[in-house]
C-alpha cells in the first residue's frame, strides 16, 4: 500500500515498496512500551492539569486555573529562569568541550587514547548521589577544593559562596564534569561516519583543518550532533536529582537552585497537588517541544544530503 504512486511520490525519500507489516513489527516493542508506560500515564496527567487534586478521590475541576496561577506564580518564573540559565550554560559549555575531546581522541596517532577515553568517561560511572557528595566537598566555602586551589593560585575569595549565590554555575560545572565524557562518546560514535575519502579529497582541495571540520566532519555528524544538542537541552530542563541532593531537597537560598522539575516535584508531591504539577509539566513540555521542532528542521536539512 505504501508503494502506491501517490503515497510515495509525496514522500521525499521514497526508497522502496517495503512490506507495510515489517516496519510495525520492528517498532512493536517500542510502541508497546511507550504506549503503556508513557502515553497512558501521560493522558491521565493531561486530565490532571485541568484539576486541583489531592489523591484520587479529592479532585476538583479548576479549568485553566492552574495555568493562570502559574503565570502569576513568582516561584515558577524563578524556576524557569534558573532552568534556562542552566540549560544555556551546559549546552554552550559542555557540548563544545565534548566535541573537541571527541575530535582529539579520534586521531589515530594519539598515544594513550584508551586511557584518556576511559578517564574522561569515568564520571558517568558514578551515581548522581555521589556526584552530589563529591561536589559538596569541592564547592565548600573555606575548605572546598575549588576555593582553596583558586585562593592559593590567584588569591580568589576563600569564602566564595558557590552553593549559596552561584548555584547554577556550580551545577553547570558539576554536570559538565559528569557528562562531558558521556556526550563525547556520542560524538565518537558519530565520527565513525566521516568518510576518510572525503577528508582526503578536501585536503587536496586545499581545505585546512577548520574547513575540513566544517565541510566534511560536521555534515557527517550533523544528525547525531543535533540529537545530542536536543538531548542535553531536554536533560538540562529536567535537571532535578543533583540540586535536590546538593541542596538537600530545597531550592537553595532565595530558590537560586530551584529548577522546574524540582518545583514540579515539590508541588506535585510535597503539597500533593498533582494538578498544578501537571500544569507545570505541560508548560515544560511545550517549551521543549519548540526546541524539538527546531531540531527536526535542522536535521531534516542534514538528511537531504
Amino acid at each position: 500500500m505504501s508503494s502506491a504512486p501517490v503515497a510515495t511520490r509525496s514522500h521525499a525519500s521514497s526508497r522502496s515498496a517495503s512490506l507495510p507489516v515489517a516496519p510495525w513489527l520492528l517498532m512493536a516493542p517500542f510502541l508497546f512500551g511507550v504506549i503503556l508506560f508513557t502515553l497512558v500515564p501521560l493522558l491521565s496527567s493531561v486530565h490532571l492539569s485541568t484539576r486541583q487534586t489531592f489523591g484520587p478521590e479529592f479532585s476538583t475541576n479548576v479549568g485553566t486555573g492552574n495555568f493562570q496561577f502559574l503565570a502569576s506564580d513568582p516561584l515558577f518564573w524563578t524556576a524557569l529562569r534558573n532552568t534556562v540559565i542552566f540549560t544555556l550554560g551546559s549546552v554552550l559549555i559542555q557540548l563544545p568541550l565534548s566535541l573537541l575531546l571527541a575530535l582529539a581522541l579520534n586521531r589515530p596517532n594519539l598515544r594513550g587514547r584508551t586511557f584518556f577515553r576511559v578517564s574522561l568517561f569515568s564520571p558517568v560511572l558514578v551515581g548522581v548521589v555521589f556526584v552530589g557528595m563529591i561536589f559538596a566537598v569541592i564547592f565548600d566555602k573555606r575548605t572546598g577544593l575549588i576555593n582553596r586551589a583558586l585562593h592559593a593560585t590567584i588569591g580568589w575569595d576563600i569564602d566564595f559562596p558557590w552553593l549559596e549565590s552561584y548555584i547554577m554555575p556550580s551545577l553547570v560545572i558539576a554536570t559538565t564534569w559528569q557528562y562531558v565524557g558521556f556526550n563525547m562518546v556520542y560524538f565518537l560514535a558519530a565520527l565513525q561516519n566521516v568518510s576518510a575519502e572525503l577528508g582526503e579529497a578536501a585536503m587536496l582541495d586545499g581545505a585546512n583543518a577548520w574547513n575540513r571540520f566544517r565541510h566534511v566532519i560536521l555534515p557527517a555528524i550533523m544528525p547525531v550532533g543535533t540529537f545530542v544538542v536536543l538531548l542535553s537541552i531536554i536533560g538540562s530542563f529536567q535537571l532535578f536529582e543533583l540540586p535536590y541532593i546538593l541542596l538537600n531537597g530545597t531550592g537553595g537560598p532565595q530558590n537560586r537552585g530551584l529548577t522546574l522539575v524540582m518545583y514540579l516535584y515539590q508541588t506535585g508531591f510535597q503539597t500533593g497537588d498533582l494538578g498544578y504539577a501537571s500544569a507545570i509539566g505541560w508548560v515544560m513540555a511545550l517549551i521543549l517541544g519548540a526546541c524539538a521542532i527546531g531540531q527536526r528542521i535542522i536535521s531534516k536539512r542534514g538528511e537531504r544530503a
Binding site: T60, T143, G272
Partner: protein
C-alpha cells in the same frame, strides 16, 4: 498482581532505627499478629513510595516510620484525605497524651488531629568548645540570654593571621541554614505555621529573630560563621575552632561522637541562651514518628504493635545508648542511665540535661504549607542578609523594619497558595 503477603510491612529510613527495631520485631512476631516485615529504605524512597501509595491509594506499607519534613507532606488534603490513620481518639483514650511529652505530638498533628506516634523529643542545646572557653577563663554560667552570650564570649573572637578577617566566631549558624534558623524561630515562639496549619510568617518573634540572625552574620559586630553541619568541611572547621558554639540536639551528640571523635573531652553542652530573661532555654530540631496506613486492615493489631515497639523501655534504652536520643515517654526519664557522666562531653551528663529541657520544647505544627512556608522563611533570611551586607554596620534594631516588610511579603505569597487550595479553607481549620 502482587501477592500481598499476610505480613504487615513496615518501612524505616534510618539504619540505626532498623538495627534497634529488629529485636523488638522478632519478639513481636513470636506471638503477635500480624507478623511484621521490617524493611530499610532510603529516605527519598520512603517519601516517594509513601506519597505514591497515598495518592494512588495503592500498595503502600501498613506501618511507616516517617521523618518530620516528609510527614507534613501527607497532610495536604482534607483531613479524611490524609493517608495515615487518625490516632487522636486512641491516644486520648489511653491517656498517652499525658504519658508522652506533649510537644512531641505537634509535628504529627494537623487541624487538631494526631496522625502519628512520636519517636523522640529532640531538645536543642549549645555545644561549645569548653577547652577554649576555659582557656580564656570565661564562665558560661553567666550566660542567660543571647545578649549575654555575645558579651561573655566576645573575647574569643580573634584574628589569628592578622589579615583583618576574623578567624574565630562565636556561633555556628548561617542565613542559608534553615534548620538552625527554624530552631531559633521556634525557640522565640515564632515558626512557619500556626496550630491550624495556616501560614504565620509575619509575627514579631520571627521578625526579631530574623533581624538578629542577619545582624549576627553580616552586621556591625559579626559573631556567626558557617561551619556546615554534616559535612567534612564543617567538622574540620569545628576541629580548628573556627566557631565556638553550635546547635546540638540530642541526636547531634551521636553525630559528633562518630564523625569528630577528636573533639572528645574538648566540648561541653549548655542550654540555649533565651530571647528574654526567663525565656525558653531550648528548642527542637528533627524528629520522626510511626504512622499506620489508613488503608491497612486490622488497625487495632497494628496499633498494638506500634505501642509495643515505641513505648517499650528497651527501645528507650537503645535509643539513648546507641543514638544519644532521649525517649519521649516521661516515665522512663527517671532511668539512671541518663545521669551517667559522658567523657566526650567532659563529664557532663547530656541525657539529664536534655530531659530537664524536654518540658520546654516548643510546639511546631505541620501543614501542607510547612514546606512552602519554611522555604519562604529561608528566602527572607537570605534577602535580609543581603540587605544587611548592603547596610554595612547593621544592627538587629536597624534591620527590624526590613525584616517585618519581607515577612509580610512572604506571608502574602504563601497565602496565595493557601487560598488556592480548595481542600483546606481556614474555616475548615477552625472546624475541627
Amino acid at each position: 498482581r502482587t501477592e500481598r503477603s499476610s505480613a504487615a510491612r513496615m518501612w524505616t529510613f534510618a539504619r540505626l532505627h532498623y538495627s534497634m527495631y529488629e529485636p523488638a520485631v522478632e519478639e513481636w512476631n513470636k506471638t503477635g499478629e500480624p507478623k511484621v516485615e521490617l524493611s530499610l529504605l532510603g529516605i527519598q524512597a520512603v517519601e516517594q513510595r509513601m506519597l505514591s501509595s497515598f495518592l494512588t491509594r495503592k500498595s503502600g506499607a501498613e506501618l511507616m516510620e516517617i521523618e518530620r519534613r516528609i510527614a507534613s507532606r501527607a497532610f495536604a488534603g482534607p483531613l479524611d484525605g490524609v493517608g495515615f490513620l487518625d490516632l487522636t481518639d486512641r491516644i486520648k483514650a489511653e491517656g498517652l497524651d499525658q504519658k508522652i511529652n506533649a510537644s512531641s505530638f505537634t509535628p504529627w498533628s494537623t487541624r487538631g488531629r494526631i496522625f502519628g506516634l512520636p519517636h523522640d523529643v529532640h531538645p536543642v542545646m549549645l555545644g561549645y568548645r569548653a577547652d577554649m572557653v576555659e582557656a580564656a577563663g570565661i564562665d558560661v554560667s553567666k550566660i542567660e540570654t543571647w545578649e549575654d552570650f555575645i558579651t561573655v564570649l566576645s573575647p574569643l573572637l580573634y584574628d589569628a593571621d592578622g589579615n583583618r578577617r576574623t578567624d574565630r566566631y562565636l556561633l555556628n549558624m548561617w542565613e542559608t541554614h534553615m534548620d538552625t534558623i527554624e530552631v531559633l524561630l521556634l525557640q522565640a515562639g515564632g515558626g512557619a505555621v500556626d496550630p491550624d496549619g495556616m501560614p504565620m510568617l509575619d509575627n514579631d518573634a520571627n521578625a526579631r529573630v530574623m533581624a538578629h540572625i542577619a545582624a549576627w552574620s553580616h552586621g556591625k559586630n559579626r559573631i556567626a560563621a558557617d561551619a556546615p553541619y554534616f559535612s567534612a568541611s564543617g567538622n574540620r572547621l569545628l576541629l580548628d575552632g573556627f566557631v565556638v558554639a553550635s546547635f546540638v540536639p540530642d541526636w547531634m551528640c551521636n553525630v559528633w561522637r562518630n564523625e569528630i571523635p577528636q573533639l572528645g573531652g574538648k566540648v561541653k553542652l549548655m542550654p540555649l541562651p533565651s530571647w528574654e530573661r526567663g525565656g525558653r532555654r531550648t528548642s527542637v530540631w528533627g524528629g520522626s514518628m510511626l504512622g499506620i496506613s489508613r488503608d491497612a486492615e486490622n488497625h487495632d493489631q497494628l496499633w498494638e504493635f506500634a505501642k509495643h515497639l515505641y513505648l517499650s523501655p528497651e527501645l528507650s534504652r537503645e535509643l539513648y545508648t546507641k543514638g544519644d536520643i532521649i525517649s519521649p515517654v516521661k516515665e522512663f526519664w527517671s532511668d539512671p542511665m541518663y545521669d551517667k557522666p559522658d567523657a566526650y562531653f567532659s563529664g557532663q551528663a547530656p541525657g539529664r540535661m536534655y530531659i530537664n529541657l524536654a518540658g520546654d520544647v516548643p510546639p511546631r505544627y505541620s501543614s501542607p504549607f510547612s514546606v512552602l512556608a519554611v522555604e519562604r522563611l529561608r528566602t527572607v533570611a537570605s534577602r535580609l542578609a543581603t540587605y544587611a551586607k548592603a547596610q554595612g554596620d547593621a544592627t538587629p534594631e536597624s534591620l527590624l523594619p526590613e525584616a517585618k516588610r519581607l515577612l509580610i511579603e512572604a506571608q502574602d505569597e504563601v497565602m496565595e497558595h493557601a487560598r488556592r487550595n480548595r481542600f483546606i479553607t481556614p474555616a475548615e481549620g477552625e472546624g475541627s
